[in-house]
């Protein structure tokens, strides 16, 4: 799953829930899924560490 998809799905779920049209069973399932997507997105942002690499040094490091 990529970040954009997760975020898009999360926002669709919020819309569906806020419309108040989802029956309870569905609402609870959506909520669970939404929380899962939120955790995924948050984790992607929290765990990513900034990194700047030079291609040339990478290429050298890759050599045996």
């Amino acid at each position: 799953m990529i970040f954009e998809e997760a975020q898009r799905e999360l926002e669709q779920i919020v819309q569906r829930l806020e419309s108040g049209e989802a029956p309870l069973d569905e609402a609870l399932k959506l909520w669970e899924r939404g929380e899962e997507l939120y955790r995924f997105c948050k984790e992607r942002l929290d765990t990513a560490e900034g990194k700047i690499e030079e291609l040339a040094s990478r290429a050298e490091a890759a050599k045996p």
């Binding site: 990529i2 970040f3 975020q7 919020v14 609402a27 909520w31 939404g34 560490e49 030079e54 291609l55």
Partner: protein, 382 residues
Amino acid sequence: MKVEAIEYGDRKVYSVGAFNRGVSSWLQRLPTVWVEGEVTELRRSDRWASVFFTLKDPQDGSCLGVSMARGQFDALRLELADGDRVHAYGRPELFEARGEFRLRALSLERFGLGDHLAALERLKTKLAAEGLFAAERKRPLPLLPARIGLVTGNDAAAKRDVLTAVTTRFPPANVLVAETYVQGPRAAGAVVEALRALCREGVDVVVVARGGGSFEDLLPFSDERLVRAIADCPVPVVSAVGHEQDTPLCDLAADVRASTPSVAGRLVVPDLAQLLERLDRSRAGLERGTRRSLDRERRRLGGTHERLGRAPRLLLERRRAKLEQSAGRLRALSPKATLERGYAIVRAGEQIVRSGGSVEPGELVDVELGEGGFGARVEETR
């Protein structure tokens, strides 16, 4: 052409003339090509069959001797001055008598800025006709690239501008930088190679950044190979080459054109703070939405429960109403209503008196009226 060698035992030796003839005949097999350079050291004499000059590469100073038939040269009336840029069409040759290598020019054209522009315009029209610059080819940039490729010169400015913009907006960015030539005849090929290398390494988006420069400095970024490589790049490309007013063809082929390297940097990453805020808003919406569903269900359940509670009373009331109805009908049949209309019931002892003959004068009777009654004595019977 067969070149004769002298054998000294196991060593084959060529005379200078034979060597030059051999090299010359080999050189003659090379194709005719166009060569671009600046004219210097033009030497012309009415006594010579050829004119001579040197073509100099303005980028790296490489030199190439050129000769051209005087009649042809004069007919062109080019009025060349030192430093004029020309395109010479010809093939390499060896001046055998002196062992000097040079280009034998068959044709010569002045090539100034106007010609450059015209050539660029021709290329632009051709590539546009192929659809290379078409809007429907443009791909959206990824919202959150896992890794960003950056093609830039080793001059600090453009590279620093992109990196600063990227890391300010999105500190956890992951950038892979490919430093390469961004000027001179090797630049176009080098940028193409850098693009490919970055894609091999795996990036989600590539920024090609180069600071401003002269028209000629930016020419490699209009090179057909480079423009095609950008159009064919498997991931979206952001082009930030030169200043706002320059439009090298790579800008047209790129998916997004940025006016400066800093703008390019800001385009390829999301604003982390904004992203977190949006995510938190989504989460709040998630809770709010779910609570709304729950509340609605709870209300509905409450309503149902209330109706359930009302049901027995309703039943009772219905029965009571029915009872009242029966009582009404019952009442209508009772003598009470008759008495109220003015009739009376006369009893003698326990017996209701129905005829005059059933009582004796002087007998005591009881009279019941609609309201109350009285005792009476019979005066006479009929």
